[in-house]
């Protein structure tokens, strides 16, 4: 008993003050929101397009510069490295989530879109959101960093957000993985088991667009191909802070 109390004293209080206080420190090399400077882009170069393993970068017809789809992006920096002109740079901005798929596409001129949820849903879910997590074919990294939100350092429960054991108890699904063909039935049944009104949150490159497995015959290239998605959280995997910020923004709690 004394050992337990002593350990408790040694370990101290660890829950972060975010969002009331500053966010936890991100690593120096953290790859966050990409920034595109079209003025630097040498036209018809295409190095970044060729370097991207998932086809996240596209040239814009009739315009200078490129666009980068954060939904497909693995944040591997291959484009940044391949570009000699410095057109693409990954910032340390961790706020990546969006409610509309098209808002994940980063261009020079496009500014970050606001995350929106209708007033009725915010009133319903804003102070109590119970989620059923469904892992559907990824690599378990998104699951691991979603799990982290339950640890004492993040303490997701203080926002009224909780992962529950049954879809019947849930207000929505948090889906990770590209949704394999083998998981399709399970995902659909779980969605049907959640009572209305319900949310779907797609976490990670796989759940948004298929991730590294995009185009494989064995997968569905993301949750949105089967279900209506209310929040997309990009990353491979997203940092826990990115996931938390997305959830809080969705509920208007940020």
């Amino acid at each position: 008993m004394f050992d337990v109390l002593l350990a408790r004293w040694k370990q101290g209080h660890r829950t972060m003050r975010y969002p009331a206080g500053p966010p936890p420190e991100l690593p120096e090399r953290f790859a966050g929101r990409p920034v595109i400077d079209a003025a630097r882009c040498p036209s018809d170069c295409g190095q970044c397009v060729a370097a991207c393993p998932t086809g996240a970068i596209g040239l814009i017809q009739g315009e200078r510069g490129v666009q980068l789809d954060m939904g497909r992006c693995l944040f591997c920096r291959a484009c940044e490295t391949s570009c000699g002109a410095g057109t693409i740079a990954f910032s340390r901005d961790y706020r990546l989530a969006a409610t509309r798929r098209e808002d994940l596409i980063v261009r020079d001129t496009v500014r970050q879109a606001a995350i929106t949820l209708d007033a009725a849903s915010r009133r319903l879910f804003g102070h109590s959101l119970k989620l059923r997590q469904v892992s559907a074919g990824g690599c378990n990294a998104c699951e691991a960093d979603t799990n982290v939100l339950g640890t004492v350092a993040w303490d997701l429960g203080r926002f009224g957000i909780q992962f529950v054991a049954s879809p019947r108890h849930a207000d929505g699904l948090l889906i990770t993985g590209p949704v394999t063909k083998n998981m399709r039935t399970a995902v659909e049944k779980t969605y049907q088991a959640v009572p209305w009104p319900k949310l779907v949150i797609a976490v990670g490159a796989c759940a948004i667009a298929g991730g590294p497995y995009i185009g494989h015959a064995e997968v569905h290239d993301g949750a949105a191909s089967l279900l209506p998605v209310d929040l997309f959280v990009p990353g491979c995997p997203p940092h826990p802070l990115t996931i938390l910020e997305g959830l809080l923004a969705l509920l208007g709690r940020r």
């Binding site: 120096e28 998932t54 074919g137 690599c139 378990n140 590209p178 590294p212």
Partner: protein
């Protein structure tokens, strides 16, 4: 004892495919059985299309055009025996003699429709979907006792036949694929009498995303990303296995500093996962202090990995020739201090477990795997070391940094949940000491081989400064033709085996990934025998196996 008809090869060293003995299916079978009887363990056993490439899996019986390949790891001598055989539509199963290969043979049947005659339980491994136009490498539906296999285009892994028990008051419990926590999908079928489990069968395949199939068409821009996501919590170890395969096939040297940073990344991965597991084990028996502290400490270790490369799982760090990113002296100093902090915090959190009677009552004697079962199933890693088997790739087949700096093999003899927890704690302490030692002795120099042989255009210029060195180093140039390599790595769960074979064009003719979970899932099934159903979560967590690493 017959004359030796296998080729002796070494971990991570390339050999010519022409040197690999090509036997008849019966001789091949004999060699594998004798090798395993002499103490070897099957590290990999798979089939691939014959180099002539004339035949398809749809070819008629006896004219299949497939080749079997086996790599047997011999810990006593620190080498591997490889052997291959041309095979028709069927061959005599090895499983009745050597249960270690039971899942390999099921996999060969599922992937290529080569039937191991006499296999006692020839059912799907991953139930890959066979819709029209899907997965063209898959064969037509076989017939047999498992009628669902392949015949129903959209059946799922649980829609197959399970071993069943009958009798009064016997009942069956089915769990999954969607579980109660944030866990990967799998289906578990328990045969019970009262609360006692007589048999557990595990049906997987829900995470099957075709990643191994896709790797066969490499190397290409996505190959390293596939390797890093074979099992996301084992990013560094799987990337290391892939890199070592590429390095062997392209005669690439890894720089000294690169080796050190790889070693540090691999051990950080082990420490993070083991600490997380110890916390989760505490949570499964309702001891919340250790659960709470370990969850946080695990995050601290992941953040150390993120200091190396920006990603908490080590994505983008390991690349053929070394590591993609260097660290400054300032970061080395920070990491060094953090190692001490983690060691202190982890000790205070974990050692509580061994002194709390309520925890020990649930850990002791639960989920026992006897050493004989461990050997017969060919278990690896923590699960095997917890049965007293001193098997550790770092010790038995040393590679990279472990050739110069040794980590003691951690074992415990009881084979129960306690043993699997305690081995993890021993390894955490030894890995932290190892990391501290490497950080203190980090050699100077480049972190990646500056000129990868035969790969001129792909290495970007690296001006000084750490930020300028961020990024990835793609590697898609042709490899040495018609060679092969077996790369073994001790991941945090156990032995990871990648086998790469190249064709005449210097591309992969075959690429096989064996995650430790592939060997160890059967161990969990046996650990549950004669246990209570309610002990399943605890036993499951004590193994903590990968679904995605198995399903590929």
């Amino acid at each position: 004892m017959s004359t030796v008809r296998t080729l002796t090869v070494y971990n991570g060293r390339a050999f010519r495919l022409a040197d690999c003995p090509l036997l008849g299916a019966d001789e091949f079978r004999q060699e594998v059985i004798e090798g395993i009887a002499a103490g070897a363990r099957p590290a990999a056993f798979f089939a691939y299309p014959q180099p002539s490439g004339a035949c398809t899996p749809h070819a008629p019986r006896g004219d299949c055009g497939m080749r079997l390949f086996a790599a047997l790891a011999r810990a006593k001598t620190g080498d591997l025996a490889v052997v291959s055989a041309d095979v028709g539509r069927e061959y005599a199963a090895i499983t009745p003699e050597c249960p270690q290969v039971h899942l390999f043979e099921r996999e060969i049947f599922e992937q290529w429709n080569i039937r191991p005659i006499g296999h006692p339980w020839l059912k799907p491994v991953r139930s890959p979907m066979r819709g029209k136009g899907d997965s063209p490498h898959l064969c037509e539906a076989p017939s047999g006792p498992f009628r669902q296999m392949g015949t129903v285009p959209f059946s799922t892994p649980e829609a197959t036949e399970f071993f069943q028990m009958s009798g009064e008051e016997v009942h069956e419990v089915a769990v999954g694929p969607v579980h109660a926590g944030i866990i990967e999908p799998g289906h578990f079928r328990f045969q019970c009498h009262g609360e006692t489990v007589y048999h557990l069968e595990i049906a997987l395949g829900y995470q099957h995303r075709g990643v191994e199939r896709a790797m066969r068409s490499g190397p290409g821009p996505r190959s390293i990303h596939y390797a890093e996501t074979l099992a996301g919590d084992t990013t560094a170890a799987h990337a290391a296995a892939y890199c070592r395969a590429i390095e062997a096939l392209s005669a690439t040297r890894v720089t000294a500093r690169g080796q050190f940073l790889r070693g540090i990344a691999l051990e950080l991965e082990r420490v993070a996962n083991h600490i997380g597991d110890l916390g989760a084990l505490a949570g499964d028996v309702g001891f919340l202090p250790t659960l709470s502290y370990c969850g946080r400490i695990r995050g601290d270790v992941l953040n150390m990995t993120a200091q190396l490369c920006g990603n908490r799982f080590g994505r983008g760090l390991l690349r053929p020739g070394g590591v993609a990113l260097d660290i400054e002296a300032r970061v080395v100093e920070q990491l060094r201090q953090r190692v001490d902090t983690v060691a202190r915090d982890a000790r205070s959190a974990v050692e509580l477990l061994w002194n709390v009677p309520t925890v020990m009552a649930r850990f002791d004697g639960v989920g026992i795997v006897p050493p004989e079962t461990c050997e017969q199933l060919g278990l690896v890693g923590v699960a095997a070391r917890a049965c007293g088997m001193p098997c550790d790739v770092r010790h038995d087949f040393p590679y990279g940094l472990y050739r110069f700096t040794h980590i003691p093999v951690s074992t415990w003899h009881t084979g129960d949940v306690f043993a699997r927890a305690y081995v993890r704690w021993l390894e955490v302490q030894r890995s932290l000491a190892f990391i501290a030692e490497q950080l203190d002795g980090l050699p100077a120099g480049p972190v990646i081989e500056p000129r990868i042989k035969g790969d001129s255009p792909h290495l970007p210029e690296r001006p000084g400064g750490c930020c300028a060195q961020m990024g990835t180093v793609p590697f898609y140039s042709p490899l040495a033709a018609q060679q092969a390599v077996v790369a073994l790595i001790e991941g945090w769960r156990g032995e990871i085996c990648h086998v790469a074979l190249t064709g005449p064009d210097g591309r992969f003719a075959a690429y096989k990934v064996v995650d430790p979970s592939f060997h160890n899932w059967s161990g969990l099934a046996f650990a549950l025998r004669d246990q209570q159903v309610s002990d399943f979560p605890l036993c499951n967590k004590s193994f903590n196996l990968s679904y995605c690493g198995h399903d590929l």
